[in-house]
């Protein structure tokens, strides 16, 4: 396969030569499936496109030739710019367009009527395209699919959905070739099976030199608790000044906002610095992306939205603020710096608090040792399959046998059995209830051997619900004026409901004053120079990997910590003095009073999800023992439980058999399961995701999905969606296996220590977001007390 001469000439004029793996991709252009693993900066995306450019050549035929799919909207815009440069430079008549949720309605309609040669899109936009009746016509000429950042997609349901969509595409355009592009992963063959279960070539590019990475140490020690790394603002500004362009990564959006605000207050030289995260309005994000691409910014404060392979050209430093939680992601973030092949990436990690100093040290050691973490994913979840079946029905009548064959050609669904498939189909058609209530009102009906929508109008509903990303409910934020005002971004509905007019919060780096709610939009005015309340955005929370937590526990066992900064070494020593340090073969449990409540701190080091499950099971045991727990919060290393009464004997709380039994019964009524159920019910199409624009003001026409969950538990406990919810929880959110591992490691060696006050190691937990209430007798007591107090104050008691 050869590149068209004008393109080779243009490359030569620019002084570009192909990397070996780029040439290899050209050589393997005819392969049905190829997985390319290359470090960032290795020209991975161009490598994916070279065969397309070669095939389209100087006289491309009309119609869609290549579909490029990336997990991020920003990435598609970026790739469009980067790909157009050589194509336009070589004057090739190749049309390249992107299509995402941000693309205008007219443009999307035109794309369906007259598709470009290369279409850049996201899994969700592809699902929508495939749900239209004209999908076969749009995709009939499709030759290649390029999936970027496959490693990231493969970690979530978005990847499962995408693989189903690929199977569908393959049916529409037989002979379709697929290419996956991935950063370094711990298990390449597993990723290859995910992409193409029937056989996939793996191409590994030269990983390049080791990164130059260190902890950013400051004169002032990090705070005892909290996140955000604002204590190190000066040091960070110094680094920004010393480098051309710096990316400053944060783990959550709220932290990025706070940090950005403070950064500007101290930015005496007025260095051009921008902010970028998923809660910002599109206009805001695009402005930053364009400024960055044009080299106008010295730094960007960002979150996971910039995690993936956006080409930032001149980035020469990456600063990770806060512990990275996962070595693999850290390595990938570091790869953002120095987008030049064969030059070491430069990165600094800034621990946000003292615990994170330990975690960052452990992560640095892991990077040095080239160990990557990762846990294998199970088979594709069935709620995603249900959505896929509904999407297929929206596009037209289908044959169940053919669809089953098609579905099992997708990597994550290769082991799906026919009865499992039939149960999903039945759910889509009748709701799948033990009580056959809807045989008369089926959503899908079989006619002449083909399944189709009973009511064609339901196709619109199905399309609205496509996608597997479940956001928490958010409200748009706008500046208040007569014309609707400038959009600034969005905040969680829960946060908005706590605001009263006059309250101030941070968004897009500026302080705004809450004026009121109008038609489900938060109206604000600018309010410079006040102390803000903080917007609580939903930042993605990752569980610290087993690898990292193990390294941390081992680090604790040292007699002294010369590799750690003095302040942190002293802090650990203090914890050792007033209490103990957790160790790999014992379970440390601290009990102490604080702020009028009893607290129990369990240092399980099993990762956030498992620690959350442990908290749920332990609070249930406490409830049974009459200890009136009120709530808990879980982090990667510990669980903090508060309640009305102290725990005096810990061992019975951690009996594995009892915990396992509790796991079964506990599934009935806890907040985490209900949250999981909500996501599953939305994905499977049982309930609609609420559409901001469409939502009625005033009366809420919808009711809580918790009611549906409780109803199913009571009347239909084996229902498909409850099965999926359970599987989901056991796999990800519950992560019971890590509790089992922890208790096996401990073998009953549980140390309950009673202390007079909060310990050094427990302190950070008090500022941890995501506190979960326990709805039991304790809470009932409190609601009664609150009601009684209000009545007394009103003189009504």
């Amino acid at each position: 396969m050869h590149l068209p001469p004008p393109l080779t000439d243009w490359f030569a004029a620019k002084g570009w030569t192909l990397h070996p793996h780029q040439q290899a991709m050209l050589d393997r252009a005819a392969n049905p499936a190829t997985l390319l693993i290359a470090p960032t900066g290795g020209g991975k995306t161009l490598a994916g496109f070279l065969p397309t450019l070669a095939e389209l050549g100087q006289t491309p035929r009309n119609g869609l030739h290549t579909l490029y799919i990336s997990p991020l909207k920003a990435l598609t815009a970026d790739i469009r710019r980067n790909l157009r440069t050589p194509v336009e430079g070589a004057a090739l008549p190749i049309r390249i367009e992107d299509r995402t949720g941000d693309t205008s309605y007219t443009q999307r309609r035109r794309q369906r009527a007259d598709p470009p040669h290369i279409l850049l899109t996201t899994p969700e936009s592809l699902a929508l395209l495939l749900s239209y009746e004209d999908a076969p016509r749009i995709f009939q000429s499709l030759q290649r699919v390029v999936i970027d950042e496959l490693h990231a997609l493969a970690e979530s349901k978005r990847g499962d959905q995408l693989m189903l969509l690929l199977s569908r595409l393959e049916s529409l355009s037989p002979g379709l070739r697929r290419v996956g592009l991935s950063a370094t992963v711990e298990d390449p063959p597993a990723l290859a099976r995910f992409l193409a279960p029937t056989g996939c070539d793996i191409l590994q590019a030269d990983p390049g030199p080791d990164p130059d990475i260190a902890m950013l140490e400051t004169e002032a020690p990090p705070p005892w608790s909290g996140g955000g790394g604002r204590y190190a603002m000066r040091a960070i500004l110094d680094e920004v000044r010393r480098h051309r362009t710096t990316l400053i990564f944060h783990n959550t959006r709220a932290q990025a906002e706070l940090f950005f605000h403070d950064l500007w207050l101290q930015n005496d030289d007025g260095l051009p610095i921008g902010i970028h995260h998923g809660s910002l309005a599109r206009e805001q994000r695009e402005r930053v992306e364009a400024a960055m691409a044009a080299g106008q910014l010295r730094a960007v404060v960002c979150t996971g939205s910039l995690d993936l392979g956006i080409d930032w050209g001149d980035v020469d430093l990456v600063i990770q603020v806060g512990a990275p939680k996962n070595v693999k992601r850290l390595v990938q973030r570091i790869g953002r710096a120095n987008h030049r092949y064969n030059a070491p990436s430069k990165a600094l990690i800034l621990p946000a608090n003292r615990f994170e100093v330990v975690e960052c040290r452990a992560a640095l050691d892991a990077v040095r040792d080239h160990t990557l973490d990762g846990e294998p994913r199970g088979p594709g979840p069935r709620d995603v399959l249900c959505q896929h079946i509904l999407m297929t029905a929206a596009s037209g009548p289908f044959d169940a046998n053919e669809l089953f064959t098609e579905v099992t050609r997708a990597g994550p669904y290769a082991t799906l059995t026919r009865p499992q498939f039939d149960a999903c189909l039945d759910f889509c058609a009748t709701g799948g209830y033990a009580l056959r209530a809807y045989d008369k009102w089926q959503r899908l009906q079989e006619k002449n051997g083909l399944w189709q929508l009973r009511d064609p109008r339901s196709a619109a509903l199905i399309r609205q619900n496509l996608g597997t990303i479940i956001d928490t409910e958010t409200l748009k934020v706008r500046l208040k004026n007569r014309f609707g005002g400038t959009p600034l971004g969005e905040v969680e509905e829960g946060f908005a409901s706590t605001l009263t007019p006059g309250d101030t919060f941070l968004i897009g780096g500026e302080i705004v004053r809450y004026e009121g709610l109008r038609e489900m939009t938060v109206e604000v005015t600018r309010q410079p120079g006040r102390d803000p309340k903080v917007a609580t955005f939903n930042g993605t929370k990752f569980a610290t990997s087993t690898l990292l937590t193990q390294r941390i526990l081992e680090l604790f066992q040292q007699d002294a910590w010369p590799a750690l900064p003095a302040h942190t070494a002293q802090w650990l020593a203090l914890q050792r003095e007033v209490s103990r340090l957790p160790s790999p073969d014992r379970l440390l449990v601290e009990s102490f009073p604080h702020d009028g409540r009893e607290h129990l701190c369990v240092y399980g080091f099993a990762g956030r999800n498992a620690m959350q499950t442990l908290a749920l099971l332990v609070t249930k045991r406490m409830e049974e023992q009459g200890l009136a727990p009120l709530g808990f919060v879980a982090t990667d290393y510990a669980t903090l439980i508060w309640g009305l009464d102290p725990v005096t004997d810990a061992a019975p709380l951690f009996d594995l058999a009892a915990l396992r039994e509790g796991l079964e019964t506990w599934l009935s009524g806890n907040a985490v399961m209900k949250r999981t159920f909500r996501a599953t019910a939305i994905i499977a199409g049982l309930i609609e995701r609420s559409n901001q624009g469409r939502r009625k003001t005033g009366r809420q026409a919808t009711f809580s999905s918790d009611i549906l969950y409780d109803t199913l538990r009571k009347y239909d406990p084996d229902h498909l969606l409850l099965q999926v919810t359970r599987e989901e929880a056991e796999r990800g959110l519950v992560d019971f296996s890590r509790i089992e591992d922890m208790l096996a490691r401990v073998e009953g060696r549980i140390d309950l220590i009673r202390l007079p006050r909060v310990t050094p190691l427990a302190a950070p937990l008090f500022l941890e977001p995501g506190r979960i209430p326990v709805h039991g007798t304790g809470r009932e007591r409190m609601v009664e007390e609150a009601a009684r107090r209000l009545m007394e104050e009103a003189g009504l008691a």
């Binding site: 009366r699 009347y715 009601a787």
Partner: protein, 216 residues
């Protein structure tokens, strides 16, 4: 445990389930049962919700009827999600309802969802007056001595929103008794416009809890 209060001289009990009991009249009143809601949604091409809410709502109503043994039952409107839902009622639910109605004075008040005749017995009224009180589906701002439903009031206290009764000197508004019912926050203008201070919300749940309004 219930909360007792007086309205227009009548002593009434707000039950934790969201039902109202009037001991002097041996009268039980429930509002907005929305029986057949899941069936109606499915019929209209919407979601196929778990079809158990009619069972569950009747089960809860049965429990209150068994406990209070009322001579009179008033269903305060929107008892059925629409008129076709009455016809779509499962045989089991129909029998269960018939058992509940047997030997009692049973009144269906018309609601905005289920206006017109109902074909399962009982008396059908736009509104009904008993002693000092008038029972109607939607509150009338110009009236007093009134018991109504319709709005599905809810109140958020310490995080969780619960259905609640609303009470002032002129009227009582009942929470929805049906399972698949959303709610309207008590601070919504539609509700605040109906109530004069001093007003009270009575939360449902494990026990009926009175809370003064407005909350600060």
């Amino acid at each position: 445990m219930h909360h007792a209060f007086t309205l227009s001289g009548a002593t009434l009990h707000a039950l934790p389930s969201g039902a109202l009991y009037w001991p002097a009249q041996r009268l039980l009143c429930v509002s907005d049962l929305h029986l057949g809601k899941s069936e109606r949604l499915a019929r209209r091409g919407g979601a196929l919700l778990p079809p158990y809410e009619t069972r569950e709502t009747l089960h809860r109503l049965e429990a209150e009827v068994d406990r209070t043994a009322p001579a009179t039952v008033i269903c305060l409107g929107d008892s059925f999600d629409d008129l076709a839902a009455v016809r779509g009622l499962e045989e089991e639910a129909r029998l269960r309802l018939a058992r509940l109605m047997a030997g009692r004075d049973w009144t269906w008040i018309e609601g905005n969802h289920d206006a017109g005749p109902v074909e399962i017995g009982g008396t059908h009224r736009a509104q009904v007056t008993l002693g000092p009180l008038t029972f109607r589906h939607i509150a009338d701002r110009s009236e007093k001595h009134e018991v109504s439903g319709h709005y599905h009031p809810k109140l958020r206290l310490k995080g969780a929103a619960r259905p609640c009764f609303l009470l002032d000197s002129k009227r009582l508004i009942l929470p929805a008794f049906g399972l698949y019912t959303g709610g309207l926050s008590v601070d919504d203008p539609a509700l605040t416009a109906l109530l004069d201070p001093p007003a009270l919300a009575i939360l449902t749940g494990a026990r009926a809890l009175p809370v003064p309004l407005p909350l600060r």
